[in-house]
């Protein structure tokens, strides 16, 4: 099996952060970066599939500045065989621009499966995977929480609100991986040392035009204290007045 996993370097979600002076991005000072959580599940799924259906190869692909190679090496230290770095000064907010670059890289390489995390933990758009699938003309199943492969086909489970959907699809396909499917293995020390010797190719990213930009990034307004208007049906007229005149939602 030949599997590609598209991964993204993101700020560590548990750390505090500040909004940059330009108010359109996060201040990078003091941030720690790591492989996006859902991408970690995708890497683990790929490694397990190749272990279950040998022989195989897992290739990790990332788009971003040179620092993104560190994230590739994390994937390599988990057991991924080689890495591809698509070099770009920054990762555009416009997922379609990224998808075009990834599709250009993926299209001639005949992967049986292309995996993404369900969404990146910084931008949270969940668009790049499905867009890349569309550009490649491949079937896409998103938010996969269970997976079986065999005979050139796959069966995936998707958790919906209160139900599980089962989808079958032919290979090659693109899947975006949800949490719960597999706990990512921790790199062993030998894996970390071996990662240094695994091949990483770097080439400029063929980004598509960036048509979506961030105008403003701000923290949510602090919730004001609640106000008790009254009790029982007598309070309703005043409530309606406030909803109409103050909150302006009626």
């Amino acid at each position: 099996m030949k599997i590609a996993v598209c991964i993204k370097r993101v700020p560590d979600t548990e750390m505090g952060f500040a909004i940059a002076a330009n108010r359109t991005s996060i201040d990078p000072a003091g941030l720690k970066f790591d492989l996006s959580d859902f991408d970690g599940y995708a890497v683990e799924v790929a490694l397990r599939l190749v272990e279950k259906h040998p022989p195989g190869e897992v290739v990790a692909i990332t788009l971003g500045p040179d620092a993104a190679q560190e994230t590739l090496r994390k994937a390599l230290s988990m057991g991924v065989d080689r890495g591809v770095h698509l070099s770009a000064a920054e990762v555009p907010f416009d997922g379609l621009a990224t998808a075009r670059a990834l599709a250009a890289e993926l299209k001639d390489n005949r992967y049986d499966l292309i995996l993404f995390g369900r969404m990146a933990t910084d931008s949270g758009n969940g668009t790049v995977g499905p867009m890349t699938a569309e550009l490649l003309g491949l079937p896409c199943v998103s938010a996969v929480s269970g997976l079986e492969l065999g005979d050139g086909r796959g069966t995936a489970q998707r958790e919906l609100e209160g139900a599980t959907e089962t989808v079958t699809f032919p290979l090659p396909a693109v899947l975006t991986i949800d949490e719960g499917i597999a706990r990512p293995r921790l790199p062993s020390l030998k894996g970390i040392m071996a990662a240094k010797k695994k091949p990483v190719e770097s080439r400029p990213a063929a980004l598509g035009p960036v048509r979506l930009t961030v105008d403003l990034l701000e923290l949510p307004k602090e919730r004001a204290a609640g106000r008790i208007i009254g009790e029982g049906p007598e309070a309703v007229p005043e409530l309606i007045r406030l909803l109409r005149d103050e909150a302006k939602v009626l």
Binding site: E14, K74, S77, L186, P187, S188, K190, I192, M193
Partner: protein, 392 residues
């Protein structure tokens, strides 16, 4: 919540990407596998031996020994970071790794024959064999030169007799590195090292009960009574006290890092608690007394980190001296003891419960203060280095 470490002076920027990755993976492993069970193990007084395969697979056993013997082949700063992260979990678990790596695998690597290395090192790295280090005796702790364990040479090999005490891994070990005098009892130059499979007739081990420190660790008395060994049980390049002391220097280096892990864990716990615990209508972090406590802890931890990292670079350069290790072990363990105690006090009543970590670290660190050269002995080692006069 995942442990995020303490790095006030941005020492992370002085680490290589690889060293950071190694530190991060051991940190994550400790969060995932050790933290959920350590409180229970400590109360029960048992070493979590079910974690040995995981530790071995992670690659932390003998991590700074060469790859050709199945080890990770890491540099000494990375080895130190591993010890730091293990001890952030528990000193007893770090002791297991110190013994296996620095006190069993190291002497085989440094003083053993190629056959011994090929046979034992990969198995010890894989956790298939568990080792212990038999130097200390009931009446000879700080003064190992006075040991009375003997190894008499015979036509077939050696016969060992003696008792060793305070032996980490003593009961669960499959192999013991035992130091004994091959000559007269007043001749420490005749001390040599022996590889003793613990299944050999005459070897017995007994758990030392009633410990109030290092409870999640196997500490045993081992007794060798007419233990017959083949000729090739001898570590051929061992000779004199400098051989076991060379091993101790390795272990003490790891402990200088390890103690910082415990200190960092206590500081982190205290810091978070101070922010969350409200008394008199505000968090106790708003009070001067607790702020001073936290500032003292951070200061000592930061100094200790600078010391350890510098020492690690010296070791990798090949110029580190045992006296430099004495300074770091003594200092870093001492400040860790204080950080743990102060953190425990900041935690108030909750600080006496095992679900908080500081008191467990505090109790453990008393052993770390005492073993591998007591705090006082390291001062005398430094005193001799400074003055040229031995005051032992």
């Amino acid at each position: 919540m995942a442990f995020e470490g303490v790095d006030f002076y941005q020492l992370d920027t002085l680490l290589s990407e690889e060293e950071r990755a190694i530190r991060d993976t051991v940190r994550a492993w400790v969060d995932r596998h050790l933290m959920p069970v350590i409180g229970e193990c400590y109360i029960e007084g048992r070493f979590p031996k079910e974690l040995i395969p995981g530790l071995a697979e992670l690659g932390v056993l003998g991590a700074n020994l060469p790859e050709k013997y199945g080890c990770a082949g890491l540099n000494n700063v990375a080895y130190g970071l591993i010890m730091q992260e293990l001890e952030r979990g528990d000193s007893g678990v770090r002791s297991f790794a110190s013994v296996q790596g620095a006190l069993v695998m190291y002497p085989i690597h440094a003083y053993g024959s190629e056959e011994q290395k090929q046979h034992w090192l990969p198995r010890l790295a894989a956790g298939q064999e568990i080792g212990c280090f038999g130097l200390t005796e009931p009446d000879y702790g700080s003064n190992p030169a006075g040991m009375i364990s003997t190894a008499k040479e015979t036509a077939e090999g050696w016969v060992l007799n003696g008792t060793k005490m305070w032996i980490t891994n003593g009961s669960q070990a499959t192999v013991a590195i035992v130091w004994a005098k091959t000559g007269e009892l007043d001749d420490p130059k005749s001390i040599r090292g022996f590889i003793v499979p613990t299944s050999t007739q005459g070897y017995t081990a007994k758990d030392q009960k009633g410990k109030l420190s290092l409870r999640a660790s196997d500490t045993s008395e081992i007794h060798l009574e007419e233990v017959h060994l083949p000729k090739d049980a001898l570590l051929p390049r061992s000779g004199g006290l400098k051989s076991p002391l060379g091993c101790l220097t390795q272990a003490r280096y790891g402990i200088a890092w390890g103690a910082m892990g415990a200190a960092m864990a206590c500081y982190d716990e205290a810091r978070q608690y101070a922010r969350d615990r409200v008394m008199f209508g505000k968090p106790i972090a708003a009070t001067q007394i607790q702020q001073v406590r936290l500032a003292e802890m951070l200061t000592e931890i930061t100094k200790a980190q600078c010391l350890a990292l510098t020492l690690g670079r010296l070791k990798d350069q090949g110029t580190m001296t045992p006296q430099q290790v004495s300074l770091a072990k003594r200092n870093n363990v001492q400040i860790a003891c204080e950080c743990a105690r102060e953190a425990r006090r900041l935690l108030g009543a909750n600080g006496i419960l095992v679900e908080y970590h500081s008191m467990r670290h505090m109790a453990n660190l008393e052993s770390v203060y005492t073993y591998e050269g007591t705090h006082d002995m390291h001062a005398l080692i430094l005193g001799q280095e400074i003055t040229g006069i031995a005051a032992f």
